[in-house]
């Protein structure tokens, strides 16, 4: 069967082709290669149960592990790998498999399991994966607050690919968290000055500059904070925070006029961004410092109004989320054709919620939770389809059973009419008769009807009394009769062997037909005995599967509800935090406004 050219190995090596020997195994691969993991797994499990994968026994088990992994069924994938990867598997493949399990587990927050999987890797992975593996290890160490180890590991980073830049960034992160701010600043500064050649590195450069700038601001070094913040791209995703930071650096240096420049730029941007919200307070703060009190009051009023409207919008959004419609809208335009770990929500649906929750989608717990929710949706649809089919099977079985019961008496009657034993007896009689004809050379027994009549006529003539007379005429007739009889006997003798062969052949064929008929009869008997049992077995299976479907439907519904509640709680929590921030800003704005009014009143009173 088909060869398998695996040309897409990550390490660039061409894999040896292998031969698919069982069509059912190839069928599983057919679905797997199209990324249709669910049907591939179902077919593989079914073929295993029917022992259709004998030529690929071990490979199929490993393939199942791989399919589970692709489907995001990681705990069961790990069970298989733990069982099978211990022996008989090339170390490189074993290590690579553990690496991907570690990666999935890290994404899903199974940190201990992820670390355990990394520990199982025994040798270096191919270059491109080795870097990723080290990065994953460093991230786990940072997650576990084991900063010294993370720092040691990241400092020893050797390659010169773009991974080295990510390593530097994470090194900076680990150092900041470990209290080594000066050392971290050097690292981040180096990264913030790198010459990026792609969007990813541009983004990393921005992140480093932003992190460094804010670290300096928090450390009370506004002069040092400005250069890195000014290196952040104006059009990039970190631009708002950088502009805000630049403004604060100037404000810290009491240069409020300069601070207004980046903050005024922020005014025209999306109010959803916390940096933009903060700038709405920063602007009047700077104006007040510059003694533009009435302008400051106007800006505070605008801010209060904008925050109020925004908080109301968030309220409505929370209400909408709590109705449960949010997730269905998220997944609404997404066909449930594929499932598994690779899926990612690429496009947000239109609506007010999407803009608020945009960054939630970048978090692992929300994305992974959404994947689970989506997978549950697929399971629900799958179960609903089967439930419909089970109804069809039930009808099909009932119809077949009814048809069988209607046909059975007719078949039994016709079977009773067919006397097979009698036919066999007659066949045996024929055999005996033919043997006797052969032994006695009874040529007349195989004569044709015409020959037999002729023979009768001749022998009747022979016996005619008139022909016994001793006269020449009678002698002449006797001679003629003798001649005729001789000719006929000669014909019969000549044809005897071929006639005997033909008759024997016909009898033999009849015998074969009788054997076939007896076999068919036995099959019919077996079927007639087996059919009710088969119906019972099918009925039991159909009857047993239906409650299983219903039970699973209810469990899937329950799990979907819990998953939905979990995702909604993350979303609502996020929105409440945004709302809380707006409320705080609003209070600050009102307080500042009140202070301005107080000040104006005091100045007014004094002037009177």
């Amino acid at each position: 069967m088909a060869l398998l050219p695996h040309q897409s190995r990550a390490d660039g090596k061409k894999a040896e082709p292998t031969v698919v020997q069982d069509a059912h195994y190839g069928e599983v691969l057919f679905y797997f290669y199209q990324g249709e993991y669910f049907p591939a797994i179902v077919r593989l499990l079914a073929a295993q149960k029917q022992s259709q994968l004998e030529s690929h026994e071990k490979e199929s088990e490993l393939l199942l592990g791989g399919l589970y992994l692709s489907y995001g069924h990681h705990l069961y994938a790990a069970e298989i790998f733990e069982r099978l990867l211990a022996d008989n598997v090339e170390p490189e493949i074993r290590d690579r498999t553990w690496f991907f399990l570690a990666k999935i587990w890290h994404q899903r927050g199974y940190l201990a399991e992820s670390q355990q999987a990394l520990n199982n890797i025994q040798a270096e992975l191919p270059k491109v994966l080795e870097a990723e593996r080290n990065m994953l290890q460093a991230q786990i160490l940072i997650d576990r607050r084991e900063y010294d180890q993370a720092i040691a590991m990241l400092q020893a980073w050797k390659d010169k690919t773009e991974w080295a830049s990510y390593a530097k960034f994470n090194l900076g992160v680990a150092m900041v968290r470990n209290g080594q701010v000066d050392a971290a600043a050097k690292i981040l500064d180096g990264l913030g000055n790198l010459d990026p050649y792609n969007e990813e590195l541009n983004s990393l450069r921005d992140k480093a500059n932003l992190a460094l700038g804010y670290a300096y601001l928090q450390d009370g070094q506004p002069h040092a904070a400005k250069p890195p913040l000014q290196r952040v791209r104006l059009a990039g995703p970190f631009s708002n925070k950088a502009l805000l930071g630049v403004g604060w650096a100037d404000a810290e240096n009491h240069n409020f006029r300069r601070a207004l420049v980046p903050w005024m730029e922020l005014r025209s941007r999306d109010l959803l961004d916390s940096a933009v919200q903060e700038s709405m307070l920063a602007i009047p703060f700077a104006m007040a410092k510059l003694d533009s009190i009435s302008q400051a009051a106007d800006h505070y009023l605008n801010a209060v109004e904008a925050f109020y409207e925004e908080a109301n919008r968030i309220d409505r959004t929370i209400e909408h989320i709590e109705t449960g419609a949010l997730l269905d809208e998220f997944l609404g335009q997404d066909p449930l054709e594929t499932t598994g770990w690779y899926w990612k929500l690429e496009q947000l649906p239109e609506g007010p919620e999407s803009r608020y929750l945009l960054h939630l989608l970048a978090t692992h717990s929300f994305q992974e939770g959404l994947k689970n929710y989506r997978d549950l949706g697929y399971l629900r649809q799958n179960l609903a389809n089967w439930q419909k089919n089970i109804g069809v099977y039930r009808n099909m079985l009932d119809t077949r059973e009814l048809a069988y019961e209607e046909r059975l008496p007719k078949i039994e009657a016709s079977l009773a009419r067919a006397d097979l034993d009698g036919m066999v007896g007659r066949k045996l009689e024929f055999d005996a008769r033919l043997n006797s004809i052969e032994q006695s050379g009874d040529t007349l027994a195989l004569a044709t009807e015409r020959e037999f009549e002729l023979w009768g006529e001749i022998t009747a003539l022979e016996r005619t009394p008139a022909l016994a007379a001793d006269i020449p005429e009678a002698q002449e007739v006797r001679d003629k009769i003798k001649l005729l009889k001789g000719v006929l006997q000669w014909e019969l003798d000549k044809e005897f062997k071929s006639r005997l062969w033909r008759v024997r052949r016909d009898v033999q064929q009849t015998g074969q037909a009788l054997v076939d008929t007896q076999r068919s009869r036995r099959n019919i008997d077996v079927t007639m005995r087996g059919e009710p049992l088969m119906f019972d077995s099918f009925n039991a299976r159909v009857d047993g599967l239906n409650p299983r479907i219903e039970m699973l439907q209810s469990q899937v519904d329950g799990a979907m509800g819990r998953q939905r509640a979990f995702l909604q709680s993350i979303a609502v929590e996020e929105l409440r935090a945004q709302q809380q921030r707006l409320n705080t800003y609003s209070v600050q704005a009102r307080f500042a406004l009140a202070a301005i009014y107080d000040l104006s009143a005091t100045v007014g009173d004094a002037s009177q």
Binding site: G66, S70, V89, R96, T97, Q139
Partner: protein, 195 residues
């Protein structure tokens, strides 16, 4: 040999490697989280894990149920004594770009399948497609398979292959393999059967 299969399974992971994940901590989270924020994150993670375990176990149960239903469906619709299945496979496929397959049994059309690019890709990589499953009576039958697609030099190509097949009491599997005849630089269509 086993290594290749694990490789296939996990290769796709390699291609999905997203470098940005490596520096997933954004600037705001450069500083360590506060204790309460960390406790919240840990609780969220714990909640996710608990739900995830439920989902994992449900997936397992639904997969097992699907396996049982799949087998029930097959045994019910295609009992072994009349079952016949036709598979399409490809060996290399340099000289033939498959578009469709048409199958006739005893002059009656039973399948006319148009392949997508993705399906052809899966065939080339070693997948085997069950193009038709049906029921036929025991005895002799005639199978005609017509393959259409692009042949050498991207010319329209249409070829038929005929075979007589004998259906016994057990299930019958027929594989239609498209392979390359390197010497003639032409595709070759081979029909194999087994029970």
């Amino acid at each position: 040999m086993t290594n290749i299969f694990v490789a296939i399974c996990i290769l796709s992971f390699a291609t999905t490697t997203v470098a940005q994940d490596a520096a997933s901590m954004d600037a705001a989270s450069v500083m360590a989280m506060s204790e309460s924020a960390e406790a919240d994150a840990a609780s969220e993670r714990e909640q996710f894990r608990s739900l995830d375990k439920d989902v994992q176990s449900l997936k397992k149960e639904v997969l097992d149920l699907n396996r049982d239903l799949f087998l029930l469906e097959e045994e019910l619709l295609f009992p072994a004594n009349s079952q016949v299945a036709f598979f399409i496979s490809m060996d290399v496929g340099e000289y033939f770009d498959l578009d469709s397959v048409n199958l006739k049994i005893d002059g009656k059309e039973v399948a006319n399948y148009l392949y997508t690019e993705r399906e052809v890709g899966a065939l080339i990589r070693g997948g085997v497609h069950r193009v038709h499953m049906g029921n036929i009576k025991t005895g002799d039958h005639e199978l005609i398979a017509i393959f259409t697609g692009k042949g050498p030099h991207i010319r329209d190509y249409r070829r038929g292959a005929t075979m007589s097949l004998n259906k016994g009491i057990g299930a019958k599997y027929v594989e239609l393999e498209i392979s390359d005849k390197v010497k003639k630089q032409q595709p070759e269509f081979v029909i194999k059967e087994w029970e």
